[in-house]
């Protein structure tokens, strides 16, 4: 296996007396998907914020390509190529596809004072990029993002991060608000991003989605890593039980499925 792109060693984070993370160690490798599983309140959001530079860890260290790093602000993390795509806040609905794609990094043409947003270029590139990930329903870069489905927006946000050279993609529940078809679309895109060499952290509480694309798995419970395993080492039932903290979750789920 290649060297890890980013590694957390014994990272803890507390807010006053509240311990959000305790002694978390994990490694994310280029070209691999690390699934971070955990129930609500397990510390997933805090872990994302530590990884993307919003929170410095209270203890422990972060290694980027083997070297110890401290992010004083999210911008530093972004500069290294750490991109976070959130479930709902990635795009701006009443703005065009092209402008969304290049927000914050607008291509320009012409000379000052006539330097202007190059909407032709922006629209063309944005469409090319999302087409490459299989979205063909959007034909016009001027179309408002609000007209796209949740899955398409997610793809736009991930495609955008990849286009701008993201090396570590942190995907926060990218599939949880989506229907089955849309979710599989986004999962497929993740495998494409993996094939392109990105290191991916996939945060989810959906064990099925995680097991369909994941290479490495970590289960977070009450801010601690409760289990760590690789693809094929555990069954879905075992994973569900782990996430629920040992309760016989799988049985319960099967029971519920039986009711339908």
């Amino acid at each position: 296996m290649s060297e890890p792109l980013i590694e957390l060693q014994n990272v803890s984070k507390h807010f006053g007396p509240t311990k959000a993370l305790t002694g978390v160690s994990l490694a994310v490798h280029p070209g691999r998907i690390l699934c971070l599983l955990g129930d609500n309140g397990a510390g997933k959001s805090t872990l994302i914020k530590v990884l993307s530079g919003y929170h410095p860890p209270s203890a422990g260290q972060i290694l980027w390509e083997g070297r110890e790093t401290r992010f004083s602000e999210p911008r530093e993390a972004r500069k290294l190529g750490i991109a976070t795509v959130h479930q709902d806040v990635g795009t701006i609905p009443l703005m065009s596809v092209g402008r969304n794609f290049f927000l914050g990094a607008e291509p320009v043409r012409g000379r000052w004072p006539f330097r202007r947003f190059d909407s032709g270029h922006a629209n063309r590139v944005a469409l090319e990029q999302i087409r490459a990930f299989g979205i063909s329903r959007v034909e016009d870069g001027e179309q408002l993002v609000g007209t796209m489905s949740g899955g398409e927006r997610q793809v736009l946000a991930i495609g955008r991060a990849m286009y701008f050279g993201a090396r570590l993609l942190i995907l926060d529940e990218p599939t949880s608000a989506l229907g089955v078809k849309e979710a599989s679309f986004v999962l497929k895109m993740m495998t494409q991003a993996r094939a392109a060499g990105a290191a991916i952290v996939f945060i989810t509480h959906n064990a099925r989605h995680a097991m369909s694309v994941g290479d490495d798995f970590a289960v977070l419970i009450h801010g601690e890593i409760a289990a760590r395993f690789s693809r094929g080492e555990k069954s879905r039932e075992e994973v569900l039980n782990l996430m629920a903290g040992g309760d016989e979750m799988a049985e319960l789920e099967e029971h519920l499925e039986g009711i339908h």
Binding site: L94, E106, G146
Partner: protein
């Protein structure tokens, strides 16, 4: 058709055309469509329009500015007292008025981004502070709250030249609209304005300096209001602390009629221009019909209600546009 419905200004353009034709028919023979009649409504729209364009941009970024009214009056008093009472050169007083307007905007902007309070309240407070301050200071200095101005001919020409009935303010309005259109639709900063109003968290995540965007826009509304204050002072040859108070709500009204979303993130300068023109047509059109001009307010109120409703529908259609 889908492309057309995506334009936020479509409602304002349609409303303008309908209203204009309505008054053309109702006032036939009374001179509403003559050169003088046209100049009349353009004059009225122009001064409001100079403020409405930056206010529109600010509202697209998700913020209000209700302090523009008193900033107009403040700027007119700075020019009046400076030139008449202290006998200072008119150009430096104009510059001082514009800087003071920008200062009010800067203060508004800083207060809004630092405290996180709604700009509606912050700038409403600023509106009273500025008019009260202007009156108080004017009283202290010269024991007046209005004063005549003393300006040179070039200044008179630049701010108050007149061809038949048409004021030079119409050209200033056109220039401001052109700059506003360029900034919003063509420059990268325009994307930042839309993103700031559309989803500030996502904008910040993409590296847009949201706070700086807002502060810059607050400064631009302040400077624009001061500019109108200078125009009015020169035009009417006097400054008055109460100038511009009508704009406090007229500006946001024409902006919303122009298709800008009250919560930000959506709208165009073309829409704001047509919204302002509509205001001019109604205000002067009523006069030409011979009806009592008291009806103007009723018209405007009804129009605002219809505009908000229609724009909501149009936006829904735009978001369906598949």
């Amino acid at each position: 058709m889908r492309k057309l419905i995506r334009r936020p200004e479509i409602g304002a353009v349609a409303a303008f055309l309908v209203t204009y034709l309505f008054f053309v028919v109702m006032t036939s023979g009374a001179g509403f469509v003559s050169a003088d009649g046209t100049a009349g409504w353009l004059n009225l729209a122009a001064e409001l329009g100079i403020v409405a364009v930056p206010v529109g941009l600010l509202m697209i970024s998700g913020e209000f500015d209700l302090s523009i009214g008193s900033t107009v009056g403040m700027a007119s008093m700075i020019l009046a007292l400076g030139t008449r009472y202290f006998g200072l050169p008119d150009w430096s007083m104009i510059l001082l008025a514009l800087v003071a307007g920008g200062g009010v905007g800067l203060a508004n902007g800083l207060a809004v981004v630092r405290t996180g309070l709604p700009s509606f309240i912050v700038t409403l407070a600023a509106n009273f502070i500025v008019i009260g301050g202007t009156m108080g200071v004017s009283r202290l200095i010269a024991n007046v709250t209005s004063s005549s101005v003393a300006v040179s001919d070039p200044v008179k020409w630049l701010f108050a030249a007149r061809w038949d009935q048409a004021n030079i303010a119409i050209l200033w309005w056109a220039a401001v609209a052109l700059v506003g259109w360029w900034v919003l639709s063509k420059s990268p900063f325009g994307s930042w304005i839309y993103a700031t109003g559309g989803n500030a968290t996502a904008a910040r995540g993409a590296g847009v300096p949201v706070d700086r965007v807002k502060i810059r826009l607050f400064i631009s509304t302040g400077v624009a209001a001061a500019f109108v204050g200078v125009i009015q002072a020169v035009q009417w040859n006097s400054g008055n602390a109460t100038y511009g108070m009508g704009y406090v709500f007229q500006a946001p009204i024409v902006v919303v009629i122009g298709g800008v979303l009250l919560t930000g993130g959506y709208g165009t300068v073309v829409g704001v221009v047509f919204g302002t023109a509509l205001f001019g047509v109604i205000s002067t059109g009523i006069f030409y019909t011979g009806w009592n001009t008291d009806w103007v307010q009723l018209f405007l109120g009804a129009l605002l209600g219809v505009a908000v409703f229609a724009n909501t529908q149009i936006r829904r259609l735009a978001l369906q546009g598949r």
